[in-house]
């Protein structure tokens, strides 16, 4: 792998950039792999990278029905934070944030993790109680999260409207300064390039259509649109389509798939310094390095596998944005889109074994899994390499919906993203 650096960039400038290599190959599938990962989103690619780099498992294929990074990874609003309530979640997301902090260097790819701070606004007494509960819980967990008064919130985010006359006035906020945003495509590409360099085959335009199992019931191969490919272990990391794929293995997953929409404005000069989330009114906003305001909405209300949601959903998100930031009323929506998110009953992911031997799953990240990408890949790689969960993902079993040991972040705060 040719290293990226300012030096090589300048050298190539004199070479009319003719010397750059492909960032990843486009290989034909081999007949068999040690591990097959289904889905080349950020989570799948990160899993492959850590399998190869930390566990020495390099005979790995990542199989993708479309183009790598073209799923939710390339559609999300990239909010990253780790100030979750329960120790289990906070542990997992904090693991990810720590990896984010060194990811550009680890991958030799600038993923632009920008720790500009994530401010979550409280609009009613219930929010205040809930956010303070988070702040206190995070303090015991050793995770940064501070309570801000409305005035402090305004000082941190000057465009914010803290007028008492708002329909839902800002009563304060919880700020995680180490939170922020990253460049979603770069995350997929950076992992793909680094994994490819370690020998992982990324096979695009190849849809997994089923599984072959041996006499003892264990998975031994995946059926794809490009033929059968053998594998000792298979990890499914297919976000909104996980339930469809696993149904082919006879598994009924506790997942519901919903469209989640987002939009960007036309680009403008820097006006918005941080990330603001308002769960009460369902608005999520930051400004990209290109200058676009990046705005997330709440999920559509109906389950669907269609990536097109209803117009009223982004409209409501904009209602909320213009309520909190009335100066943006004359800005324009440039592009809007949706992705299909996989939602579990307790809004926490499922990372681990399934009832089928050799078949593993990493899903249920719902509306907020981008932030976990490095951590999720890291612990899932451990799970696939050793056959047993890493301590950080041990609580996130599929079995918890049977035992009742839920990790219900939604119940605690109804937070998306």
């Amino acid at each position: 792998m040719r290293r990226f650096s300012l030096r090589t960039l300048i050298a190539e400038a004199f070479n009319a950039h003719q010397g750059w290599e492909r960032q990843w190959r486009n290989p034909e599938p081999k007949p068999a792999y040690d591990v097959i990962i289904v889905g080349a989103g950020g989570h799948g690619l990160a899993t492959a990278f850590y399998l190869a780099s930390e566990h020495g498992v390099t005979n790995v294929a990542v199989i993708e029905k479309g183009w790598l990074g073209g799923g939710n990874t390339g559609r999300n609003t990239t909010i990253i934070r780790s100030n979750y309530l329960y120790d289990e979640s906070a542990g997992l997301y904090e693991h990810a944030v720590k990896l984010w902090e060194g990811l550009s260097q680890a991958l030799n790819y600038n993923v632009m993790y920008s720790q500009r701070g994530v401010l979550m606004l409280a609009h009613n007494v219930h929010d205040v109680q809930s956010f303070k509960r988070h702040v206190y819980a995070n303090r015991l967990q050793g995770i940064d999260n501070e309570w801000l008064t409305p005035e402090q919130a305004k000082a941190f985010c000057p465009p914010l409207n803290i007028s008492r006359d708002l329909r839902y006035p800002v009563l304060g906020g919880a700020l995680q300064r180490r939170g922020g945003v990253a460049r979603h495509d770069a995350v997929a590409w950076g992992y793909a390039r680094a994994a490819d360099a370690l020998g992982v085959d990324i096979i695009q335009n190849c849809e997994v259509t089923g599984f072959r199992r041996n006499a003892s019931g264990a998975v031994e191969a995946v059926e794809t649109s490009r033929g059968t490919i053998k594998a000792k272990r298979v990890g499914v990391v297919a976000a909104g389509h996980t339930s469809v794929i696993l149904a082919r293995a006879g598994l009924r997953m506790p997942l519901e798939s919903f469209p989640l929409q987002a939009l960007v404005s036309e680009p403008v000069k820097p006006v918005f310094p941080c990330v603001v989330m308002s769960n009460a009114v369902h608005a999520y906003i930051s400004q990209s390095d290109k200058g676009e305001l990046v705005i997330g909405a709440g999920t559509d209300q109906y389950v669907s596998y269609s990536q097109q949601g209803g117009l009223h959903v982004p409209m409501h998100a904009l209602d909320a944005i213009c309520e909190l930031f009335p100066q943006f009323s004359r800005m324009r929506m440039l592009r809007s889109w949706g992705g299909i998110v996989d939602v579990t009953p307790d809004r926490s992911p499922i990372i681990g074994k399934t009832a089928v031997p050799g078949l593993f799953v990493n899903c249920g990240w719902g509306t907020g899994g981008f932030k976990a990408t490095p951590g999720s890949g890291h612990v899932f790689a451990h799970t696939l390499a050793t056959g047993e969960p890493h301590p950080l993902n041990a609580p996130f079993t599929l079995d918890r919906f049977r035992t009742g040991r839920l990790i219900d972040e939604a119940a605690a705060a109804a937070v998306t993203h």
Binding site: S5, L9, K269
Partner: protein
């Protein structure tokens, strides 16, 4: 004459109405009917902006909504300034203050242009390869600089002074686009009386005919034919005509969203008009007659100001009577540009045509213009443009056999028109989820299989000839009636696809722009493909081509063609990107419409709200409701007011507005059975006239909602829910009733808003209402705690509950909402002698906490079972089933060590803990520390003379008397575990 380059005759401008606008501080004049772009050109101004990345000087590329370059900030008055307006779309009118963007210190001299010098480094995706060291520099140093350099205009910084409207409409046929095809479609569709909406983004209907001064239709000038068609449509009552209206989004079920611009073009807009209006149309059928876009040619420095699309020259000359240059060179690979050449020539401008095609491959167009005396160089390529802030010429060269490039020569030019062929505007079709098909004959994607009730017509489906467009429009508008084909001037169509013009220069150094606004060159696309970005989506994202504010209208096909060429694939094998709404950018305000301020989320208020307001209440938001929070008197703080209100209830009588509580009537022969299945409690034996506190679970076994339920009759229950849970509970009940137990004969009716509920609580409550109530025996024996009676209060029918959420003797008086305030006032009047005190939700919270009553959503958070909060005893064990029962048997739910509700009293009685504070058993442990639980409720209790708190703590009921530590903003506080009841432990007072 307004502007040095205004032509003496012609155009659709109104020369009787001069207008003047300001551009970068300079006052310029033009006429009504001008766009800002045509007005600037009339005044000889081509340099109007700087590009996104390299800050290159940029001019006006197009004459319509596909414009990538000419983006201006426009100030229409205080609170009416916004960035990134396309000069080619903004209509000129008096009072406009416009300014160019993205430069410092000035448009003419821009320091940012240094980026252009550094362009060998700033190639596509360069930022992914660098700025990684030192690690902390990304968000501290590099990123702020990148951010400051990027972006185009500036965001407004004050509130928007304009208003926006919103309208829903239904029609049989929606026709989008009013060019020849759209007009024909609307004419045909509306003939029989069907309801038709015809919408076009331009200020006038007519589409391409607006700048066509030579064609004829059916023997008359094409513009006259259009005018007649429009007049006919206007005369039909079943037709709604919308100009300045862009259909921007095509959603499921033929739901099309459109933005109508209403006042921006008016100098003195009447106050009653909104600036823009959102139309949400549900159409029986949709006809997309959205036309096509011209492709630029890709050659070195093709972005110099003065270089524009060939058709745009035609539009500026014919429609706006503006000479975009005096010496024009048209570079083309197809026939249509010859019309532009002919029209410019006819306007007295010097014109030369350079055609990439072999003479033999050209059609009659060559002879057509040569006979007018226009020079045509066929088989010529364009090597580069000269000039920096304005084009000065084109370097051209003959193409020999096998593409050999011959000797260069320079053609002087002050304006260049380029035409690389045409692309049907399939955006809305693609948004409707229709499948595109590649048509080799016209080198473009065209609509294939439709998915919704929709059809494309005219140029939008690649049918470019004028007579064909009209015929296609008729057929689309009314497929059942054959109409005679109208004769029209044959259009000059056909082109040879060229992805990049052949050159003798080192191709790796040539900067030929593909996406003008985002500064993506052909080289960048080559680099992306070389680096393994093979899919369209990857190239788009890596290079940012097609992601500018024009969303690739001018760049997509060239980018795709280049990719296909480099990869040696056919273009359709490369595919195309998804077209996403909106078609053109839509103002946030238009999407928000009236949903702001009070209408952002309409507030629900109770019949007693006005009274509370008059009596100085502070309100809190609970769901959509405004609830009286506390009633401060004089200069009282919240703390003081609440202490006073609490005392009044405990010692005298308090009055509280409980109208927001959810109320549902469960009625029918199977009502009791239904209740048995929904709630954990048993209902069969509850006697009519009796009440019971009910608890319901979700399927997962966790508490969902609670409330007192009264049985009014064998077959009738009056259920109450929490304020926030009302809608959710009704939905939950309906869900089960309709999907799981459709056999039960039960009806559910929300009666939340039918009844006002007045809670009268305190030892003197009975005395206060006694004289007001008739038909009910209020005595303790006849009307004990937890019963309900119907009768009258103040002559109004009432469902009178004897219940208490405060721990005092109390009543909840349900009266029809219309009488709520009158009854409230009567009780209040009567209560004055007893010191009646209005109290709010905060006091209610304190009083119930003193008694240890839970609030769902505060003591519970969706992870709490009945047993966790000490209510396990309520479960009717004998019932075969109820929602959540199975889950209560799950291993983790029956395991030891679950969090349980307890009371906490701080060692320092004056310290009121934070709600949400975490609880640990050893304050000296290092982080991370596992918490035992958290404080759910915490108040100052006037009755106890100290602070009290409720908490959920692991194994809490085993910890009575233990000292635990609770987080405070900067430390920990010690507190002792108690039972979760602090006042009247036996609960005797309610029976008074």
């Amino acid at each position: 004459m307004a502007g040095v380059n205004r032509l003496p005759r012609g155009g659709r401008i109104d020369r009787a109405k001069p207008v003047s606008i300001s551009f970068n501080g300079q006052t310029l004049s033009g006429y009504a009917g001008d766009t800002v772009a045509s007005l600037l050109l009339a005044n000889g101004i081509h340099l109007v902006g700087r590009s996104f990345k390299y800050h290159r000087p940029r001019g006006i590329l197009s004459h319509g909504s596909d414009e990538p370059n000419a983006l201006l900030s426009i100030d229409r008055g205080p609170g009416k300034i916004d960035p990134n307006n396309r000069a080619t779309v903004a209509e000129a009118r008096g009072g406009l203050v416009t300014a160019s963007q993205n430069h410092w210190p000035s448009l003419n001299f821009d320091v940012g242009a240094i980026n252009d010098r550094l362009s060998p480094i700033f190639v596509a995706g360069f930022y992914y390869k660098t700025f990684m060291w030192p690690r902390r520099f990304w968000d501290r140093v590099y990123e702020p600089n990148i951010r400051a350099a990027a972006g185009l205009g500036k965001s407004p910084d004050g509130p928007d002074a304009d208003r926006y409207g919103n309208r829903h409409a239904h029609c049989d046929v929606l026709v989008v686009g009013a060019g020849p095809a759209g007009l024909a479609a609307a004419l045909a569709a509306s003939e029989g009386g069907k309801r038709i909406i015809l919408a076009d983004e331009q200020a006038e209907f007519g589409g391409s005919l607006l700048h066509d001064v030579t064609s004829t239709v059916d023997g008359t000038a094409a513009q006259d034919w259009a005018a007649q068609a429009i007049a006919m449509l206007k005369a039909r009552e079943n037709v709604t005509l919308l100009t300045r209206t862009t259909a921007f989004g095509y959603y499921n079920h033929n739901h099309v969203a459109m933005a109508e611009r209403i006042t921006d073009h008016l100098e003195n807009a009447p106050d009653h008009l909104p600036r823009e209006r959102l139309w949400q149309v549900r159409a029986g059928a949709v006809i997309l007659a959205t036309g096509s876009h011209e492709r630029p040619l890709v050659f070195a420095d093709n972005d110099r100001p003065g270089i524009m699309l060939a058709e745009s020259i035609r539009a500026f000359v014919n429609r706006y009577a503006v000479a975009p240059g005096r010496r024009i060179v048209i570079a083309t690979s197809g026939a249509s540009a010859y019309r532009a050449a002919a029209d410019a020539h006819a306007a007295g401008l010097a014109v030369t045509v350079v055609d990439i095609r072999l003479e033999a491959d050209c059609g009659p167009e060559v002879a057509f213009v040569r006979q007018k005396g226009i020079d045509v160089l066929t088989s010529h390529t364009v090597i580069a443009a000269t000039g920096r802030k304005r084009v000065t010429g084109l370097i051209v060269a003959p193409l020999g056999s096998e593409g050999r490039v011959g000797a260069r020569r320079t053609l002087a030019a002050d304006c260049v028109g380029m035409s690389g062929g045409w692309t049907p505007s399939v955006h809305l079709f693609s948004q409707s989820r229709g499948k595109l098909r590649f048509d080799d004959a016209i080198d473009a994607f065209v609509p294939g299989q439709s998915v919704q009730a929709e059809r494309s017509a005219g140029a939008a489906r690649g049918s470019y000839d004028l007579a064909d467009c009209i015929a296609d429009g008729f057929a689309a508008g009314d497929p059942l009636t054959a109409r005679p084909r109208l004769a029209a001037t044959p259009s000059l169509t056909g082109f040879q696809p060229v992805r990049i013009l052949p050159t003798d220069a080192d191709a790796t150094r040539v900067r030929a722009f593909v996406d003008f606004q985002n500064d993506v060159t052909a080289k960048d696309i080559g680099l992306a493909v070389r680096e393994g970005f093979e899919s369209v989506e990857h190239v788009k994202r890596y290079t940012t081509t097609g992601m500018a504010t024009d969303q690739g209208k001018t760049s997509n096909m060239n980018a795709l063609g280049l990719m296909a060429g480099i990869q040696g694939k056919a273009l359709p094998a490369v595919g195309t990107t998804t077209f996403r709404p909106p078609y053109t950018p839509v103002t946030f305000g238009t999407l928000v419409g009236p949903a702001k301020n009070a209408l952002f989320d309409p507030a629900r208020i109770t019949p007693i709200h006005g009274w509370a307001k008059e009596h100085g209440a502070e309100f809190e938001n609970v769901g959509l409701w405004k609830r009286a929070w506390y009633f401060p008197q004089g200069r009282e703080t919240m703390h003081e007011a609440v202490a006073r209100e609490c005392k009044a209830v405990r010692e005298g009588v308090g009055i509280f507005d409980a109208s927001t509580l959810g109320k549902i009537e469960v009625v029918g022969p199977d009502a009791a059975e239904f209740m048995n299945r929904i709630y954990i409690n048993a209902w069969t034996k509850l006697k009519p006239g009796a009440c019971r506190y009910g608890l319901m679970l979700k399927e997962d076994g966790f508490i969902m909602d609670d409330g007192v339920v009264a049985r009014l009759a064998e077959d009738r229950f009056h259920v109450t829910t929490t304020t926030g849970g009302a809608a959710r509970v009704l939905q939950h009940m309906e869900d089960y009733l309709q999907t799981e137990w459709p056999d039960l004969r039960v009806f559910l009716t929300s009666i939340t808003e039918q009844y006002a509920v007045i809670a009268l609580q305190g030892p003197k409550a009975r005395e206060v209402i006694a004289p007001l109530v008739s038909d009910i025996d209020l005595s303790g024996e006849a009307f004990p705690h937890m019963t309900v009676r119907t009768g009258f209060i103040c002559g109004v029918p009432t469902r009178l509950f004897r219940v208490s959420f405060t721990g005092e003797l109390g009543f909840e008086i349900n009266v029809p909402s219309d009488h709520g305030r009158a009854v409230w006032e009567a009780i209040y009047e009567r209560g004055r002698a007893f010191g009646i005190t209005p109290y709010g939700t905060e006091t209610m919270h304190v009083l119930r906490a003193e008694r240890g009553f839970i609030i769902v959503g505060q003591e519970t958070d969706g992870t709490v079972t009945p047993d966790d909060v000490g209510l396990g005893g309520m479960i009717a064990k004998a019932k075969p089933d109820f929602v959540g029962k199975r889950s209560l048997a799950r291993p983790d739910i029956v395991a030891a060590g679950r969090k349980q509700l307890i009371g906490l009293v701080t060692d320092d009685p004056s310290l009121v803990l934070d709600e949400g504070a975490q609880i640990i058993d050893d304050r000296h442990r290092p982080v991370p520390i596992k918490a035992l639980g958290h404080v759910t409720s915490s108040y100052w209790s006037a009755a106890c003379g100290r602070s009290i708190a409720l908490a959920l703590v692991a194994g809490g009921r085993e910890r009575m008397g233990e000292t635990l530590y609770v987080t405070t903003p900067d430390s920990f506080a010690a507190a002792r575990v108690t039972a979760p009841v602090f006042f009247d432990e036996k609960g005797a007072r309610v029976h008074a």
